[in-house]
């Protein structure tokens, strides 16, 4: 195996799934990391350890199991705060995922702060989860939804943001820090600065960025920040919404129920303190605890090293894939501006056919619209194929992938 910035063999041995074969005898090559990442044994063990040894509900009971479970759950909150560098642990809200985090903001903040003729600005490379909640909100309020366009390099056209901000009607700008289709890394700090100069709130969809690079929320200085555990080695069903305390304090709860209350009377209720005001009902305790192990795992490697490894892999993959006859790549070739996500088409092979053919060689890639149909329209394609990398991927796997692409190309006579 090649020399790497990280100890790849030791990392791979932590992921049980990488030992399995697919289609009888093909080693699994997992290049669908932008959809969800694989889980190391440490995460799987943390979840089963909770169920084996201290399964209990949190925050209420006084018995020992409850205390252990509460401590483990709350420890994750501290780790998240440290991981994304925020000062106040009570600003970390556990949700089901990025989608729920964005919906929470649209519901609890949006309905109070966005009124008729106001503008919410999103971008053409958003995931449906950062478009549809804003369509619901703006339609309900008679407000407008506007889009920052994407240029031919796959980058946001920020002049358009300036024009929207100049109207004085913009209440929120929401964008992904890294595109799940093109891998483009947004100029987040520049966008946020521009918005704040005009007193406009900013939401950062960090679902694709936090798993793959060091992110410092204080430095970003945004207002809302959302990401998911399952794309960063953690379990499904856990996500994080971070928001500034003053905003959270003035927002109405998203869900009503247990744990989010201070006092409940027949007709009135007072809310619990942050973050519990936004965590109604028994949360996903086991998976939050599993997420803790994922954060430890990434911390141990170091997010700078994760990024470095992915840059090296992506650079290599882009070089190799560019040489495949008939390939069409989307997004910028500049590695400083992109992450480890490569979207492409090969001749007139439909992405679903391509994904099926290379799956026969054990290579799992994604094909389709990637929940980004607005971007597909902009690129004027119905679908693309997408390979996305993570810490356990290797150049040798990329070689198999390229050979497989060439096999598909020959099959379709391109």
């Amino acid at each position: 195996m090649q020399a790497s910035v990280i100890n790849i063999e030791s990392i791979r041995s932590d992921f049980p799934i990488l030992k399995r074969k697919v289609h009888k005898d093909k080693p699994l090559i997992y290049f669908d990391n932008a959809a969800t990442a694989q889980k190391p044994i440490q995460v799987i063990d943390a979840i089963s350890n909770y169920y084996y040894n201290y399964n209990s509900n949190i925050h209420r009971a006084v018995h020992q199991l409850a205390e252990e479970a509460t401590a483990a759950y709350e420890l994750t909150r501290d780790k998240v705060a440290k991981f994304i560098n925020v000062k106040n642990r009570e600003e970390i809200i556990f949700v089901r995922g990025t989608t729920e985090a964005i919906n929470l903001v649209a519901y609890s903040w949006g309905r109070q702060n966005v009124q008729k003729d106001d503008i919410v600005v999103t971008t053409e490379y958003e995931h449906h989860s950062n478009i549809v909640p804003w369509q619901l909100l703006t339609k309900e309020k008679g407000a407008k939804l506007e889009y920052i366009g994407v240029d031919d390099n796959g980058e946001l056209i920020l002049d358009q943001l300036d024009a929207y901000l100049d109207t004085g009607q913009v209440k929120l700008v929401t964008f992904s820090q890294m595109s799940n289709v093109l891998g483009t890394i947004s100029k987040s700090e520049e966008i946020i600065k521009k918005c704040h100069q005009k007193g406009v709130r900013v939401l950062v969809d960090a679902a694709q960025s936090v798993p793959h690079m060091k992110v410092d929320v204080q430095k970003l200085d945004c207002d809302f920040f959302a990401f998911s555990a399952h794309k960063m080695l953690g379990p499904t069903g856990v996500g994080v919404l971070w928001a500034r305390k003053d905003l959270l304090e003035n927002m109405v709860p998203f869900n009503g129920g247990g744990d989010m209350i201070r006092e409940v009377h027949k007709y009135d209720t007072t809310w619990n303190d942050l973050p519990y005001k936004f965590e109604a009902g028994t949360p996903n305790i086991a998976d939050v605890i599993g997420f803790s192990a994922a954060l430890d795992y990434l911390d141990k490697i170091g997010m700078d090293k994760v990024r470095e490894h992915e840059v090296e892999l992506t650079k290599y993959a882009l070089e190799q894939i560019s040489a495949v006859k008939g390939i069409k790549l989307y997004g910028t070739p500049d590695m400083t501006k992109r992450g480890g996500v490569i979207s492409f088409n090969l001749g007139d092979i439909h992405p679903h056919d391509l994904a099926t053919i290379i799956d026969e060689d054990g290579v799992a890639i994604r094909s389709g619209h990637h929940c980004a149909q607005v971007l597909m329209e902009r690129l004027d394609v119905s679908a693309t194929s997408r390979a996305s990398f993570y810490i356990y991927n290797t150049k040798e796997e990329i070689d198999v992938f390229i050979r497989s692409l060439n096999r598909a190309r020959e099959l379709f006579r391109i």
Binding site: I349, P351, H352, D353, T356, E360, G368, A383, L411, F412
Partner: protein, 141 residues
Amino acid sequence: MYREIILDYYRNPRNYGKIENPDISKKDSNPLCGDELEMHINLKDNTVSDVKFTGKGCAISQASASMLTELIMGKDFEFVKKLTKEDILENLGLHDLGPARIKCALLSLKVLKYGIYSYVSEKLKDTASADKIKEEASGLF
């Protein structure tokens, strides 16, 4: 899966196109992958006198549609009404499709069945048969 015959039908689809004022006309899509398909059929003396399709999508969906048009051309309407999922897979020579890809192969049959349903219920006013066909169509995937 991608045998020569599938690729040939994908690249050179038979019966591709539209019919002016067809007796049966139906369009559907697969929301998961975005495959689209439209079928036009003319009937004469209770047999399929002409059939055409248009669409965009993967090789499996497009080849399947083209091969289905050939299968039903000139056939008795009763035969067409009775076509099953197994008939289509047999016709394609594909038997080991997974749950995601089987939808590609069956999209054309689904469009055909819904087309027949509309025809039977609206033009023939045969509610009982129409309901049965609709049930078959919705049960495909």
